[in-house]
Amino acid sequence: MKKKFRINPIMKKDMMVGARSIKMSFAIMGINAFLTLIVLFVMATNSMVGGMSGYDYSSLSYLFLALGCVECGLLSLIVPIITSGSISGERERQTLDIMLTTPVSPFSIALGKLGSAMMVVMMYMITSIPVMAIAFVLGGMSWWALLGLFGMLLYLGVYVGSVGVFCSSVVKKSVMATILTIVIGVAIITITFVILTVGLGVKSYEATLNNANNITVGATPMIMMLNPYSPLVDFFIRTMSSYSLYDLIKETGTLSAGYSKIYQAWIPISLVLNLLVSFGFLKLAARNIAVTRNKRRK
């Protein structure tokens, strides 16, 4: 068979169908309206604080942080909604069976569904550029920061989207899939956080037992690399200040050279790990897609 690059057919179809529904236009308009409100709010409060001494434009760089966080937050809510019906919807519409009689593999179906969600994410990012630009023009942020943010948003979209597609392959109802996606996300965040806190707690307890001034940090914070938001945190710290997540970890105790290297490379390592996790979710989704059921007559 001839190997040729082709757009995933499912993604192509979903984009065409999606573009024809008015829902998406409204969603994108709503999101940008929300972002604009935030800009206006920050600028208004800023001018009040500035008072007679004139307008302090440099503090507008915090707009970047505010908008960035809001965008991540919105993305984490929107992507579960977009992907929630991706598989369950095909099942409900009884089109999944037909899809499975074609040579397109279940994994490609999952990938196509993720791809169509990412297209919406991209649209959402692109349309938000004008609003984001305010923070750059007025606040003096570099365009690299925006590019970085978009990279981060894309990654986050892939992660949340994979979980979303997986949930859609498990649950029948779209609403349940949305909720399940958010629950899984919150669970991952909570579990990594609890492990970190307990781990560091144990370490400091040992330190007091041994009368040591400092705890040896070791590998415990690495668990946070599996927290999908940790690279974003590092990214925001790095763009807004001269610090990084590594500096924060360093302050908690002594750190060997090897671990230092690892924590300094938090963003790439964490990105790779989390993308592997999303790949795992997609694989699981593919497995669920492949299981077909005989529809029973009422």
Binding site: R20, S21, P103, K295
Partner: protein, 316 residues
């Protein structure tokens, strides 16, 4: 073409297919008949590589559907018993979408789809949104869709269910044309007469077993001759209704092949064991005796009676 050997399928403990054996030649239109739950859909889904068998083999053109589900997908086109279409998608785009799933280029799909839409009589609907099509049109569109990759075997699961007589007729025409083109087709239904008109051979399935199979004529021959005849006659010349009935009954019982005569509210029901020519002779005989026959028809062959016959029962 299609060779099913010792196919067994269990859903948990439930045995849906029990050592099924079936052989279908190339170019045949095979009718798969059986009551609800007989295992028709199960057999078809295994043949399409959608469902895993518990044991046994299914060979389509020598390719094993159970071990090579990926290869089978290029050889088989499937129209499921229940299926849906997408909103916001036009007929031609629908075809293009499924064509692209087989890795076909837009140009190739357009060319082939053109011909297929003509075949299923939907040429004038190319730019119509699929969800606005009628049920019958959707069914035909789905047949065209299943043919987009030029499969060797076409599997249709109850393509006529839920269609009105007109739509059924149109579907039948489509399938006849496909048969004429030399496609191998499997059609399931629980209505035998419908299948017997367009199929070349038939298999009757019950509870996971194939209880009879063969050429349509052979099967129909086995069952011919026991459908009752319904008749109405105008009996005005008699004093009482009773007298009229009495006369007609006697007359009928004298005729060959008549086994039993009963009266329903407004009809005479004749248990008749002859073929169609003999039934025609019965009518002729009555008319010659000046009976004013106003209505005379033979009950259609139905699955139930055929079943009972084949399995040794008798229809009352």
């Amino acid at each position: 073409m299609l060779e099913i050997q010792n196919l067994t399928k269990r859903y948990g403990k439930f045995l849906a297919l029990d050592n099924l054996n079936l052989h279908i030649d190339k170019g045949e239109i095979f009718g798969f008949v059986g009551p609800n739950g007989a295992g028709k859909t199960t057999t078809m889904r295994i043949t399409c590589g959608l469902l895993k068998a518990t044991s046994g083999t299914v060979l389509v053109d020598g390719v094993n559907a159970i071990t090579n589900p990926e290869d089978i997908k290029r050889k088989v086109g499937y129209v499921p018993d229940f299926f849906g279409v997408y909103d916001n998608l036009k007929v031609m785009e629908y075809m293009e979408f499924y064509g692209s799933m087989y890795g076909m280029s837009k140009e190739d799909v357009d060319e082939i789809a053109e011909g297929l839409l003509e075949l299923v009589n939907l040429s004038d609907k190319k730019d119509v949104f699929v969800d606005t099509l009628s049920r019958g049109m959707k069914q035909r569109l789905c047949v065209a869709r299943a043919l987009i990759h030029n499969p060797d075997l076409l599997v249709l699961d109850e393509p006529n269910s839920g269609l009105d007589p007109r739509a059924r007729f149109e579907m039948k025409e489509v399938l006849k044309n496909l048969g004429a083109m030399g496609k191998t087709i499997i059609i399931s239904s629980h209505i035998l007469p419908e299948l017997s008109e367009m199929c070349t051979s038939i298999g009757i399935m019950e509870k996971g077993h194939l209880i009879a199979s063969g050429k349509v004529d052979e099967i129909m021959q086995k069952s011919k001759g026991s459908q009752p005849i319904h008749m109405r006659a105008i009996m005005d010349g008699y004093d009482t209704e009773e007298d009229g009935r009495e006369f007609l009954s006697t007359l009928l019982r004298e005729q060959p092949n008549v086994e039993k005569v009963t009266y329903t509210e407004d009809e005479v029901l004749i248990a008749f064991n002859g073929n169609d020519a003999e039934a025609a002779n019965l009518l002729k005989g009555l008319v010659e005796r000046n009976v004013l026959v106003s209505n005379f028809y033979r009950e259609k062959e139905d699955l139930e009676s055929l079943f009972l016959e084949i399995t040794g029962g008798a229809k009352e």
